[in-house]
């Protein structure tokens, strides 16, 4: 960390941290590549992705370009406490403009997957997973009155009204990594 002068905010010196964690470097890149960010290593830091990223616009710390740089330098611990990857709207503007086919969106989501393994997952995401498993829908199951009001049956023709389909979905979920992680109860 660079010592701040008076009135100057602390600057995170990425290279300095990277020096410290050099041995971690290869490992982090391999982890995120494993989790779907295969083309991460082709990034040339041109910044096209940052120019179109809604997260960069509103001031999130680890927006796409900076996140990729940090990963290539081997940083991991610094990222785990930060909410940025969980704020990504998956809009894929970055994927569309990337001249190196890095797909920065995949990097954001690979970091989410890495964070999940470390249990650095927001409560809301857990609630969404729980609702998906319980009902097959990742929303609060309100709105039944609203459905009636607009002339629709109380339940849509989904897992919400089809026991076998919900059972099938649960079988699928139980055979995925979600079950291994043990983030939500999946007993029934």
């Amino acid at each position: 960390m660079i010592e701040p002068e008076e009135g100057v905010p602390t600057v995170l010196n990425l290279s300095e941290i990277a020096e410290r964690e050099k041995e971690e470097e290869e490992k982090v890149v391999e982890i995120v590549r494993e989790f779907g960010a295969e083309n991460l290593i082709y990034c040339m830091q041109c910044g096209s992705c940052a120019a179109v990223c809604p997260l960069a616009r509103v001031g999130f710390e680890w927006y796409n370009k900076k996140l990729i740089k940090a990963l290539l330098l081997g940083l991991k611990e610094e990222l785990l406490d930060d909410p940025t990857p969980w704020a990504c709207v998956a809009c894929n503007r970055c994927t569309e403009v990337c001249p190196r086919l890095v797909s920065p969106f995949e990097v954001m989501f690979a970091v989410r997957r890495m964070m999940v393994e470390e249990f650095a997952i927001p409560t809301l995401a857990i609630e969404g997973l729980r609702a998906l498993y319980e009902y097959g829908h990742a929303v609060y199951m309100t709105g039944r009155e609203a459905r009636k009001k607009v002339g629709l049956p109380e339940k849509p023709p989904s897992t919400d009204s089809d026991e076998q389909a919900l059972k099938d979905l649960k079988t699928i979920l139980k055979n995925t990594k979600l079950a291994e992680l043990g983030l939500i109860p999946m007993n029934d």
């Binding site: 809009c91 459905r147 099938d168």
Partner: protein
């Protein structure tokens, strides 16, 4: 890899599985009702895709594991494939998640194989044939602007619309069955609105993000910054009579955040927001209470203007 864009036309009749998602049936069921009214009236048969679930949306399985994401998506796609039809959705997130998952399965045999091993446990297999279409593209390409013009009872004369196609209608363009000529200068929704008689001009923040989804649940303050900028641009550049979107998330954000901003004294105007299928349903003469009955920002005035001319 995903070349085919022709949707299944059994006996020259258009038929799609209506994929609802989560936000539409539980938060905005008037959008569901609008689709159930307009499509049969336009000669498009709807299958209920009984047993469908969440697509899965971004904060769930896509954040956990790629194969898990594709497996949930594939079960939904199977429901169409088993009947020889494509899905169609009015939710951009579903459109994005299902098509990205399909693209992964079709371009990566290992993922496809792992998914089918999981699906085998419930007696299913995804061949990769059925895909998910967007209702706006179905209306634009399969139904066609002429048929839309013929089907409407009310036209939108002297009405200016600010269009909001929404992110997953556009990007990443290589995974979608239909794509704009220039995804950063989209025309489809503008033309669909013009077919109803309205003006739908370009404005400088047309393709900007509304700030919904993960951004809003992570940091509402930052999310409202984006939506406020967008709304102010729409007011300043177009003085639009309404905002029309093809995405259920944009619909909720633009409608709901607008009211929150007004309550906090950060916004001093009001612009009604509709999903395109709702606007079309209103123009076709369906009951406003059923097809456009749920909103936070008031719609009565604009609906009366449409209906009374």
């Amino acid at each position: 890899m995903i070349a085919e864009t022709e949707s299944v036309k059994g006996e020259n009749k258009l038929k799609f599985g209506l994929f609802l998602g989560c936000n539409i049936p539980f938060n905005r069921p008037d959008v569901e009702q609008a689709m159930r009214k307009i499509f049969p009236a336009l000669g498009v048969e709807i299958d209920d895709l009984k047993g469908q679930s969440c697509c899965p949306t971004w904060g769930t399985m896509p954040s956990i594991d790629i194969v898990a994401w594709c497996a949930v998506a594939a079960r939904n796609l199977c429901l169409g494939e088993e009947k020889g039809i494509d899905l169609m959705t009015a939710c951009n997130s579903c459109y994005g998640s299902l098509n990205e998952a399909r693209h992964k399965m079709l371009t990566n045999p290992e993922i496809h194989k792992s998914v089918n091993e999981i699906l085998a446990k419930i007696g299913k297999k995804y061949e990769g044939k059925s895909k998910c279409r967007h209702v706006a593209w179905v209306l634009y390409k399969d139904v066609g602007l002429e048929k839309i013009k013929e089907s409407i009872k009310y036209t939108l004369d002297d009405i200016t619309i600010a269009v909001q196609p929404g992110c997953h209608f556009l990007w990443p363009s290589n995974v979608y069955p239909d794509k704009e000529e220039d995804p950063f200068n989209p025309k489809v929704l503008r033309e669909l609105c013009e077919a109803l008689g309205a003006e739908a001009p370009y404005y400088s923040k047309l393709v900007d993000c509304c700030g919904m989804g993960a951004l809003r649940s992570t940091d509402p303050e930052k999310s409202f910054t984006l939506v406020k900028e967008k709304l102010e641009c729409i007011k300043d550049e177009l003085d639009a009579d309404m905002i029309v979107t093809t995405c259920s998330s944009c619909l909720i954000q633009l409608d709901d955040a607008q009211e929150r901003l007004r309550k906090e004294g950060k916004l001093n105007f009001s612009i009604p927001v509709l999903h395109y299928v709702q606007l079309l349903a209103l123009c076709m003469g369906f009951d406003p209470g059923q097809v456009a009955g749920i909103s936070v920002t008031p719609r009565d005035e604009i609906i009366n203007r449409i209906i009374k001319g």
